[in-house]
Symmetry: C2
């Protein structure tokens, strides 16, 4: 096990009706609130009204920033930073999924930075201070509600880049599984794939002795495999929504990565796809993951695949190790297909055209430093397998 | 899954050499430090010197309170509170195992209380404020390094009572697995049993849909079963010590109990044994646990035992459910015996004499509210099975 510094400071109010804690939490941080959200869905499903009821208080002034896109854009963050400075915002209230929370993180940091917020995306070390963030989660997927990361897109430059910092971790997150009841089946499936990809990318590592972390990761994967299909079929199944929501937070809050070495592989490959084609992140991850697994399976990695196959998928441990590995990869593919995810790039509108340039960027921007180092040629092959 | 408010604020510096972070952490909280520790073991194994080297700073004044007993006594806490008030202590530095950290928690709260600290043990709601605590852990067992609980003994009244509060959670804990290398085999085994008991008491609950929590609990149990015997045989096996240490913290920091209902059963029964006979807590837990399991096995509880047997001990799931349950209980007993724990009360000097009165107290003080409610007669029978 490697050394680590554990810090998961977010306080979480988890469960039905926990929105009732919002007013008190907001007032802990100040008076002027920037409410950040996406489109009209939180107005249609009533969450907006419940939030506004909590903010209806003589001590609270609400300013709104709406229209945050699914792959959040630098322009929205720029607007938010401007509002923070003009309105002397004390606390940012992010109501939505990962995109809204991610965008809020950049706004929170940008409020204390004099230059263009895009600088902070390019260089996280410039982030010295940030406004406190409270999140109200409406989609189980990115885990942004308990971590310090954000992914921001710049459509002018076709960039989709990650940034992060300890001080960007939300101070408080309200996680009500009922708030995800109206998430449609395809987004529920994509969210499940996103969660599973976070776990898989973390689980495939080379560090000796991170036994507990690996068992935790397997627990999270089993939870997604158990409840993803239920949530897709029965959107108002509370325990399915609750388990997915809590698994999503733990998939990336550090619990399974502290003590290991995480080399992201599939995420950098997918980020190019959604930067170029604006596809749903979780769908891209689901398409690429089993192809990536097939590509990296070797004498060196097969042991990890055996753990994965036996402990996660319940494959008979007495079989040949490559047989176990290949069965596990097949089960991974079948699982994503079974919850309705389109499993080929062509189905989501991606053809050969930009594969070369995307492969080059993906390798340079992270896949080279993954669990198995991926060159441009490796990435290109994985993309082609995924067509 | 039940509603919960998650809050695990302790920052942890985990791994070899992390003591180097101590000076900076102490100075974050102030100048006057009360160093709390047990006997001479930290002087013999060099930990005391490493701590003092960190505290050797012109901005730090050290006051010492030593001699904290394995079942920490109210008298030590009274001495500590007096020191805090006289020396204007800013931060308490607890160097030791759970007893030292537990005692430090009462001191931390007592520093802000005008009456006798024992009042705070009897009534946790009197705890309004507390000094910050930094712990340097030297024994993997109680999990006190990441939770808000403490157990304090009053030998005059034969009382051993739990107390707790969110503000008693250590702010920072330094967990260096090498600091447990000198823990002898019998204490390593008892610590492993203590950790496993925390997990088992949490795992046996009635709440529907706490699937992820149960898988996490099984992960922790598997970790103890894997590494307990290794640490007993190879005291300087880093990964064994590291996995046990991290499992011990997660066993009781809330991660597996948030969202469930925890009814402690074996702990209240054991607390009477160690209050009356001052035996090692973990040994008492190991002796009682398999007998408690046998006593509560029924049509109503057998399903939980099947999960436990199949997922933790790898028992064939196609067997009869009661057969699985009984095999799991037997494996639990055999495991504790295999790591050298004396598995009968007589072996640790306990006979029939006080069983009745202990059974009465154990039932009243908690076992009545356990996973299966235990009357005085139930407890007495479990004690007798354990003789």
């Amino acid at each position: 096990m490697k050394n680590f510094d554990y810090n998961i400071p977010t306080r979480v109010h988890f469960g039905k009706g926990q929105i009732s804690k919002l007013r008190g939490e907001v007032k802990n941080f100040g008076h002027n609130v920037l409410l950040v959200y996406g489109g009209n869905s939180i107005k249609r499903n009533g969450i907006y009204d419940q939030v506004m009821e909590q903010l209806n208080d003589s001590d609270i002034n609400v300013f709104e920033l709406s229209g945050i896109a699914p792959n959040p854009r630098i322009d929205s963050a720029r607007d938010g930073v401007k509002l923070c400075k003009e309105c002397k915002i004390d606390v940012i209230l992010a109501v939505g999924g990962g995109s809204v929370i991610d965008c809020s993180k950049l706004i929170a940091a940008g409020a204390f930075y004099d230059g263009d917020p895009w600088d902070l995306v390019l260089k996280s070390s410039l982030i010295k201070e940030a406004l406190p963030i409270i999140s109200v989660l409406t989609l189980s997927a990115t885990g942004s509600e308990m971590d310090g990361f954000a992914v921001i897109s710049n459509m002018e430059t076709n960039d989709k880049l990650g940034m992060g910092g300890e001080i960007l971790k939300p101070r408080v997150s309200i996680l009500d599984p009922e708030y995800t009841y109206t998430v449609p089946a395809n987004q529920t499936a994509a969210g499940t794939a996103d969660i599973m990809s976070h776990i898989i990318e973390t689980y495939f590592h080379d560090v000796e002795g991170a036994y507990l972390q690996d068992r935790f990761a397997e627990s999270l994967l089993k939870t997604c495999i158990e409840f993803g299909p239920i949530a897709v079929k029965e959107p108002e199944n509370y325990d399915a929504r609750a388990n997915l929501m809590w698994a999503g937070s733990h998939a990336i809050n550090g619990m399974i990565s502290y003590g290991t070495d995480v080399g992201w592989s599939v995420h950098p490959m997918e980020h190019e796809l959604s930067a170029y084609y604006d596809i749903t992140h979780g769908v891209g991850l689901a398409i690429l993951t089993p192809r990536w697994m097939k590509h990296i399976l070797s004498d060196k990695t097969v042991g990890k695949f055996v753990d994965y196959g036996v402990n996660v998928w319940g494959i008979d441990s007495s079989l040949d190790k490559f047989e176990i590995a290949n069965m596990a990869i097949e089960k991974t593919y079948d699982f994503f297909a079974s919850i309705g995810i389109p499993m080929n790039l062509r189905e989501v509108g991606i053809d050969e055209e930009n594969l070369e340039v995307m492969a080059e960027f993906a390798s340079k921007r992270g896949a080279k430093y993954g669990y198995v180092s991926l060159s441009k040629e490796d990435v290109l092959e994985i993309y082609k397998m995924s067509l």
